[in-house]
C-alpha cells in the first residue's frame, strides 16, 4: 500500500469518476429533452384518483404538491409551445385536488386555465365548473371558489343568471369579499358589458397570489383596454374625416390638428397603427391573446371570447 503507484491509481480513478459523472449528466440532459412529458404518462394510467390516494400511504400532501407542480409545469411548457389542447390538465388538477382537497390554488388555476380557449387554455369550461363545484363541496366557506364559479358562468359561458346565483351565495358567507354582493347585482343588469368584464378581471387579479393567474388576469385587463380604445379611435377618425374631409394617413396628423394630445399607444407601449381604410390595429398582433378589436380582418382566427 505504498506511494507512487498508489497515488497514480488514485488519480486515474478520480479523473475517471468525474468524467463519467459529467457524461451521465450530459446523457440525462439529452434524455430530459427527448421526453419532456414522459413522467406525466402515469397520469393517464392511474386507475382513479381515489385509488392513487389510497396507494399514497398517507403521504397525500406531498403527492398533491408533486402533482400540483406537474400541472403548472405541464401547462407552462405546453403554453410556451402554443399547444392547441391540454388533455392532461384536468386529470392532473383532479388528482391534485383529490389528494389534497384544500389546495385552493389548484381549483382556481383550473377555473382560469381549463376554461380559456386554446392556446391559452384547455377550452373545457364545463370541466372547470366541475372542478370548482368539487372545490366548493370540500371548502364551503371559501369565498374565492364561489367567485370563480360566478366568473366562469359569466365570462366563459354567458350564463348571467347562474353567475348571479354564485356571487350571491358567496356574498352570504361569514368571511367574504364585499364585492360579491356588488357583482351579484351587476350580473342582472350589466352582464355582457365591458365594464363588468373589467371589474371581474380586476377582482380576480386582486384575489390571489398565484403568479400564473395574476399575469393572465393582467393580460385580460390590457386586452379590455385595447377593446375599449380601438373603437374610440376609429370613431375619432371617422369624425375627423367627416369634419375636415381629409383621409388621415397617420395619427400624427391628428396630433398636429389638435385632435389628439399625443400618438396613442396600447397598454404594451406600442403605438396604434392607422390603416388607409380608417381602421385601427395594434402594432404586434402576436403579442395579444385576448383582444377582439384591433386585429386584421382576415387570417387571424381568434374564436371570439364570450363577453
Amino acid at each position: 500500500m505504498s506511494g507512487r503507484s498508489q497515488r497514480g491509481a488514485s488519480l486515474i480513478l478520480c479523473s475517471l469518476m468525474l468524467l463519467m459523472l459529467g457524461g451521465s449528466v450530459l446523457a440525462l440532459r439529452q434524455i430530459t429533452l427527448a421526453r419532456p412529458e414522459a413522467r406525466l404518462q402515469d397520469v393517464l394510467y392511474i386507475p382513479s384518483s381515489k385509488a392513487l390516494k389510497r396507494m399514497s400511504l398517507g403521504y397525500n400532501g406531498l403527492l398533491a404538491d408533486i402533482y400540483w407542480t406537474r400541472a403548472v409545469q405541464y401547462f407552462g411548457w405546453n403554453h410556451k409551445h402554443k399547444a392547441m389542447s391540454y388533455p392532461l390538465l384536468y386529470p392532473l388538477l383532479e388528482i391534485t385536488t383529490e389528494l389534497d382537497p384544500h389546495l385552493i390554488v389548484a381549483y382556481r388555476f383550473g377555473a382560469t386555465f381549463l376554461a380559456q380557449e386554446p392556446p391559452d387554455g384547455a377550452g373545457e369550461p364545463e370541466r372547470a365548473v366541475e372542478l370548482i363545484d368539487k372545490g366548493i363541496k370540500a371548502n364551503p366557506d371559501d369565498w374565492h371558489l364561489y367567485y370563480d364559479l360566478g366568473f366562469l358562468y359569466a365570462m366563459n359561458m354567458g350564463n348571467y343568471e347562474a353567475a348571479e346565483k354564485a356571487f350571491d351565495s358567496g356574498s352570504k358567507l361569514p368571511h367574504t369579499h364585499p364585492f360579491l354582493k356588488i357583482l351579484a347585482a351587476d350580473m342582472a343588469e350589466h352582464g355582457g358589458e365591458l365594464e363588468t368584464a373589467r371589474l371581474l378581471w380586476e377582482t380576480t387579479y386582486n384575489s390571489t397570489d398565484d403568479p400564473g393567474i395574476r399575469s393572465n388576469a393582467m393580460r385580460h385587463l390590457q386586452a379590455l383596454d385595447v377593446d375599449e380604445t380601438v373603437p374610440k379611435l376609429e370613431d375619432l377618425i371617422r369624425r375627423y374625416r367627416e369634419k375636415t374631409g381629409i383621409e388621415p394617413t397617420s395619427f400624427f396628423e391628428l396630433v398636429q390638428a389638435g385632435w389628439l394630445r399625443r400618438i396613442p399607444t396600447d397598454p404594451l407601449g406600442m403605438p396604434y397603427k392607422l390603416l388607409p381604410d380608417g381602421t385601427v390595429q395594434v402594432q404586434d398582433p402576436e403579442a395579444w391573446s385576448f383582444i377582439r378589436r384591433g386585429l386584421a380582418p382576415k387570417g387571424t382566427s381568434e374564436s371570439p371570447q364570450k363577453p
Partner: protein, 311 residues
Amino acid sequence: MAAIETVALRKTYQVGFWRKKPKVALRPLNLSVREGEVFGYLGPNGAGKTTTLRLLMGLAAPTGGSFKILGGEINDPAIRSRIGFLPEQPYFYDYLTPLELLNYYAALSAVPAKDRTRRIEATLKRVGLQEDAWGTQLRKFSKGMLQRVGLAQAIVHEPKVVVLDEPMSGLDPMGRREVRDLIEELNHEGKTIFFSTHILSDAEALCDRVAVLNRGELRGVGVVADLVGSVKGNVEIMWHGTAANTDMEAKGFSCHAVGETVRAIVPEMEVDKAIDILRNHGARLMAVTPMRTTLEDYFLAKLGAPAEVTQ
C-alpha cells in the same frame, strides 16, 4: 538479498472520538530476514506483531519508514505472487468447500488452470486435511481444520516467502506437531518462513533467528543457536527418599519434595558434595541434569531490557 527488510517502519493510529489521540502501535523498526531462514517474531499479546505483519502485507499503510520484500514493493503483483500469508484467526467464506476456496485463491494467484486441481489436492494432503472433508462447506469445520485450510491457501501457489501470524493457535498438540513438521519441510524446500508467535518452545525448535518485540518496540534480535543451550552453571538433582533433606538444606541446597521424590538445584561445583550427602543418607539417585539456557530466559531478559539497536 534479504527476503524481508524494513527501514524505520512505523505505525501510529489516531484513536478517540475526534481521532486526535495518537496510539503508537509500532515504533521505528529495522529488521532484516534472510532468504531461506526460519525467523521467529516473538512478543507478548499486543506487542505489535500483527500490526507489523499487516504493514508488511500491504493491508495497512505505514505512518513512516519503508520496507522491501524480496527486493520489491508489496504493491507489485509479481512480488505478491511470491508471498503466502496466513492471518491470525482467519475466516474464510464459510459457504465454500476447501476445494472451491483453494480454487478461488489459486485463480487469484495465477496458478495455471491445468495445474490447479493437482496442486490443490497435493496441498490439502500436505496440510493433513482428510479427503472426506474436501467437499464439505467450511462452515462445518473445527478451528483446527480451518487452520489447516489456512495453511493450505498460504502455500498452494508455491510462494518463496511464507508469512504466518500465530500459525499454531487453535491446534491440539498433534496438530502443532504437524505444523512444525510442515514448516521444517517448507524451509528445506528453500522457502523463507517468517512467523509470529508467543509460544516460545515452538520458536526454539524451529527458528534460525528470532526477534523480540514489546510495546511496539524491537527489544532484541538473536541467533537461536547462540542463545540457547549454553550451560548456565547449575545442575538439577532428583532423588528418591526424604531422609537427606535436612542436611541438604543445611548446606544451602533448597529442596522441593513431591511425596518421596525430591529435587534440588545445585551449583556445578558443589555437585559432588551434594551427591555425597545423598549417598550417606541412602537416597536413591534418579537424575543429575545440567541446566541449559532456554529461549524463555532470553525472552524474559529482553522484555525487561531497554531497546537495542539491531545487527
